[in-house]
Amino acid sequence: MIYEPSWLAIGVFTLFVGFTLGLSFYLGRNAKSSAGYFAAHGQIPWFVNGIAFAGDYLSAASFLGICGMIAFYGYDGFLYSIGYLAGWIVALFVIAEPMKRFGKFTFADALDARFHSRGIKLVAGISTLVVSLFYLIPQMVGAGVLIQPLLGFPHWVGVVLVGATVIVIVVTAGMVSTTYVQFLKGSLLVFFAAILAWIILARGFEAKLGGNDGYAFKVMGPATSVEACGVELLPADGGWEKIPFVRSRDADGRIVVWHVETNSAGEVTLRESQTVTQTVSGVFVNGQPLGRKPGEAQLHPVGYISRLPGDVQSTGGLGPLSFFSTLQQSEVVLWEKAKEKVAEADGGFTTIYYPKLTPGSRVLRPGEHPTFQGIRSEKIFDKLNFLSLMLALFCGTASLPHILIRYYTVKDERSARRSTIVGIASIGCFYVLTLYLGLGAMTSGALDVTNSNMAAPLLAKGLSEWLFAIISAIAFTTVLGTVSGLILASSGAVTHDLLMNVLGWKLTDHEQVRVAKLTSVVVGAVAIVLGILFEKMNVSYLVGWAFSVAASANLPSLVMVLFWQGVTRQGVIAAVAVGMTTSLAWILLSAESYTQVYGLSAANAWVPFSQPGIITIPLGFLTLVAVSLLTGRNISPAVVDGT
């Protein structure tokens, strides 16, 4: 699709960014010391911190990635919502209060509270950097995705814009401004997601033949054969042989591609598809040059219901439960991308997007997205992949450095606990809404078949230009809030853990803040580059990786240090190092990395399934216990007691 810049959206967006930056400069006066810069002097009110938790946590992956996955595949995206929220239970019941008690500025502080070990600071600092960078990539990708329809700029401009804005926020005022940006973003995101969900319910469903541009996709058949469907077929030359697609020419001479669908009785139906062809002479959409002028074409928006219960045309307003029960009995037209690109005779390649009539009951069941299809497989490794992902989501939240440092911004353990409860309430509320937003987008007639991450903003655009402007600006602030937290966590790890504690740099309080600001600029620049390189990947999928690494590297040590007196510093160092390296290695050698990152065949992958958590999290615990038992006798009781 070609995105037009919206002046209204640009205006609201500029207002949001201007307010955010103004707030940062205003609050920057209070962040001259390291305690102010890294931990806001521990003076953030618990309610503000709780909403800021939501602002920190509800990232681009939650808003754009989950909504996009639900819009394109149905229920499966909601599995991420459930896993992400469940992780907060670990944070509240196990981690919150001890983190506040033991730590000062960074995650490594809490881990190292009993040992005062440079080795622990080193591995924990590196782990913080690795996890934060993994988490930063999808946020930056999300930023680029948003900027395209909002301002009409290319993806990389969005990434650079977010990177630059966040660097200014973090450099001016550190944790104080980051907290209030996250508070603002968390409040607005939940509020406007609720407004959007309410509009979706009030609007109900409508049966259509195509998307919001009014184009009705053609259907030929059913008939006994392709030839009997009534279209004059073009020869199946080159890459068009032996694929379930055929071509014809319409009255205007335009080439139309049809998906050949055969039912159980052997009857054939042809469904009009959409194509994007890349050639040396340019990009062609549906056989015509890409553009808006006469004789040019762009992809039609998709995502609609083809049949409602009782064959009614529209349902009118629906309740929170009747929304699901109606969809359950409807028929939805989902669009899929053909597995292989078609090689053209002139050297170009054609990507085909085709409609697939899907019963509502199937949309609302788990196991349709490629990541979750394994649950319907007979292979045990496919099921283990699913179990592994759900375990990583459960264990990952309480291991994310940028979430953990939020516990240092409140005054005591009671505030840490209360702020987590507020966080769970606001985050849980948002995740319930994601299912309505995703399914609303699926049936909105506004989807871009090439980009699942755009589902939520395009849903808003289909409802109202104002709503689109506000939702886009909030989504942009969403990225700002999360990226600020990640950069702050990284700069704290570099300054406090690696430079001061490991390398022994003697920095004054003022110098600490200056070095942290410099580090923020470097981390921000790295994030910008990675955000541009990983443009095409689904943001939820990338965040799943970050959770796996965080849960494998950090959680075993964090939990065992809190609950087992027999832990030794060698055990902690080994557990973090083993958890981090094995989970990273597993991800890099997985089938998903082979196909999505390296462009190689999944069959060449070294590991039997893609998600590492079910192996590497227990491995982290085992390593810690084994090494601690082996080295425990060398530890003096005074060290074990932490005295």
């Binding site: 229920y75 909601f78 919502s81 019941f93 209060e97 001890p98 439960l321 788990p366 375990l391 409860i421």
Partner: protein
């Protein structure tokens, strides 16, 4: 954190973990069971999923209500 808070946290954590594990294992090994619609035409996948989110909030509130806070100036007991 008082010993009471720690024990309470572990108990509630175990309760929620069991509920979460039930959901994950049902999806992994009996995915068809999630398609059934036991109430109001809504399937188990949605009901159980919403249930987990609401249960997280309910248990968090319960934890907040039952936790003990040390009185100002008193020593904090470390249970770990």
């Amino acid at each position: 954190m008082s010993g009471w808070n720690a024990r309470l946290g572990v108990v509630l954590f175990c309760v929620y973990s069991l509920m979460y594990a039930g959901f994950v294992f049902l999806n992994a090994f009996w995915p068809d069971s999630m398609e059934r619609t036991p109430w109001a035409g809504v399937n188990w996948a949605i009901l159980y999923g919403f249930g987990l989110i609401f249960a997280a909030f309910a248990l968090a509130i319960l934890y907040g209500l039952l936790c003990h806070d040390p009185s100002p100036g008193s020593d904090v007991e470390d249970s770990h």
